[in-house]
Symmetry: C2
Subunit: 335 residues, 2 copies
């Protein structure tokens, strides 16, 4: 199975490391040589049908800032059309206005008959239904476990293991940065600005934290869940959204008096699609602290099933991509 990695930031490098580390396991378990044959970033690319050494790619990226030795003169999707491979791992940075370059990369790969695994929320939060339609038309798979909940296997759990259940609603904390900030405000009595600054200093929040704190990131994930699990046709703009930048120390203290905490909760069902700060009783699963993600599925037979895991991180995201890759390998081996 030949893999092309588009995007070679933290996640791309994590995937490359995991591919190398798991190579012998793939061989043993699926009797399949899983190789990286191509990689590109915003300014360069590299391809060899004999396979590329992940270590060399990572070292080059670290030393030169470029994953490849060949300059990328054109849009990346043209490169993806030019070469042969089996699976595109699309891990370029998210652009929530256009979905590019992820959208064109995914489209090009699928139209060339390649399966796609992505961690890129942009294309899926903007054009989910279209992408799924194109995947079906081309008889390929579009898998996206890594777009929601990081290492928390919520999408494949809901769609595959719990396929026989009727899921009526999902509630969860889908953004670790907001949760960290709300948790610190409560624990230390910090004002919002100071908790945010702390999150930025330890690398949990971006320099421009807008997407996280205004709930855009959570809304993208909520839209993806709405589409993937409730078969709706939503974009992140359809999500009713309130962020956490307006949460005051007073509000947190008032909640504390009632033995409650404030959490940024996403709620998804066929009737409701919303991200907003809510009061949660201390001790309730959704009162979880730190940067963890948590997702609760309400089902008709199993009742409530809750999954908790790390919401972000290099290997955590690579883990979700690996689980999609394993699903493709299993499919291939039973065909």
């Amino acid at each position: 199975m030949d893999i092309f990695i588009a995007g070679f930031g933290t996640v791309g490098q994590g995937v490359a490391e995991v591919m190398k580390e798991r190579a012998a396991w793939f061989e043993r378990r699926f009797d399949e040589c899983v190789r990286i044959v191509g990689a590109l970033d915003s300014s360069s690319f590299e391809f060899s049908s004999n396979g590329l050494d992940p270590e060399i790619l990572i070292r080059r990226k670290k030393m030169t800032g470029k994953v490849g030795t060949i300059e990328l003169k054109d849009e990346s999707c043209h490169i993806l059309r030019q070469f042969d491979y089996d699976v595109l791992v699309e891990v370029t940075p998210m652009n929530i206005s256009t979905g590019e370059p992820g959208y064109s990369n995914i489209l090009t790969a699928m139209e060339s008959g390649k399966d796609v695994i992505t961690s890129n929320k942009g294309p899926l939060a903007l054009k989910f239904s279209e992408l799924i339609r194109i995947a079906k038309r081309n008889g390929v798979q579009l898998r996206f476990e890594a777009t929601v909940g990081g290492a928390t296997p919520v999408i494949n759990l809901s769609r595959e293991l719990l396929m026989g259940e009727r899921i009526s609603s999902i509630r969860g904390i889908l953004n670790g940065t907001c949760n960290f900030i709300l948790h610190r405000m409560r624990e230390e009595g910090l004002p919002f600005a100071q908790a945010l600054k702390e999150a930025q200093e330890i690398g949990i929040a971006e320099r421009d934290p807008t997407y996280d704190i205004e709930g855009v990131d959570s809304a993208c994930k909520a839209a993806i869940l709405a589409n993937a699990i409730f078969d709706l046709n939503k974009t992140y703009k359809d999500v009713k959204r309130v962020g956490i930048s307006g949460i005051t120390e007073d509000a947190i203290a008032l909640a504390a008096e009632e033995k409650k905490v404030i959490r940024l909760i996403a709620e998804i069902s066929s009737k409701r699609l919303e991200v907003s700060p809510r009061l949660v009783p201390v001790g309730h699963p959704l009162s979880i602290g730190g940067t963890l993600n948590i997702i609760q599925l309400s089902t008709d037979l199993a009742g409530e099933i809750t999954v908790v895991g790390r919401g972000a991180g290099k290997f955590e995201t690579a883990s979700a991509i690996l689980s999609d890759l394993v699903a493709l390998l299993k499919d291939k081996s039973t065909r």
Copy 2:
């Protein structure tokens, strides 16, 4: 897909109800007519190659105490050898000394080339390796999601969705009855005997609660996880086991002073196989109250993944059986 249900107590009836309720969905989703063709209990059986109406089976069982119109004169495994079907759903009561009649039922079905789905811990906690070997030799599947964690999809999650992870250890609360008792002792300051009595009165504990409170039930589940996930060759007797009947009010009060609770924790790894009461800090996921089950998987890439769900119940167990059935249907449809 023709199903034979062995055992027609609460779980068997739950499965029959779910089969009826999901019939149209099976048809739509897998283009497959999923029917119950046979059912047996300890004194009777019924078979029709044209399919049996689940409603009639349930009504007959409720009114006469027998699922079938034909007297069961022989051991149930002889019946299972006599008729044709595709999948045995083995849900007879657990016998932890002999594993019977589950063991012979499962063996007979597999040796006749049938796939088996079971919720019966006995055979798997006593003779796991042998049963898996026989399944392989006969080219059939033995699936057992329902044996551990009730509706919590821990086995298929670990073995299928997280197949690419290296799981180093599992910790969890696998018995809702013990958890309820420990929770009530703490909340209400009850002595053990009184909390147990309360659990019996509301139907959470059996009249003879030994299996639950002495940790045998948890040990069976721990052995199954050790075999299924760590590929060990253990029986429930290999599990180092301490129950909760020796937990005093004083011990609970002392723990409370340190902001801790006592929980019956199962720990499973290649080095450790143990069920024992442990101190857990309040707020830690394993400090969960009520009858819920919780399982934490420590993995190399994803870090810690936690799943919480209902540990028991008619539809909860049927849900786990349904997820195994769906896996068989998916397999069949890709073949």
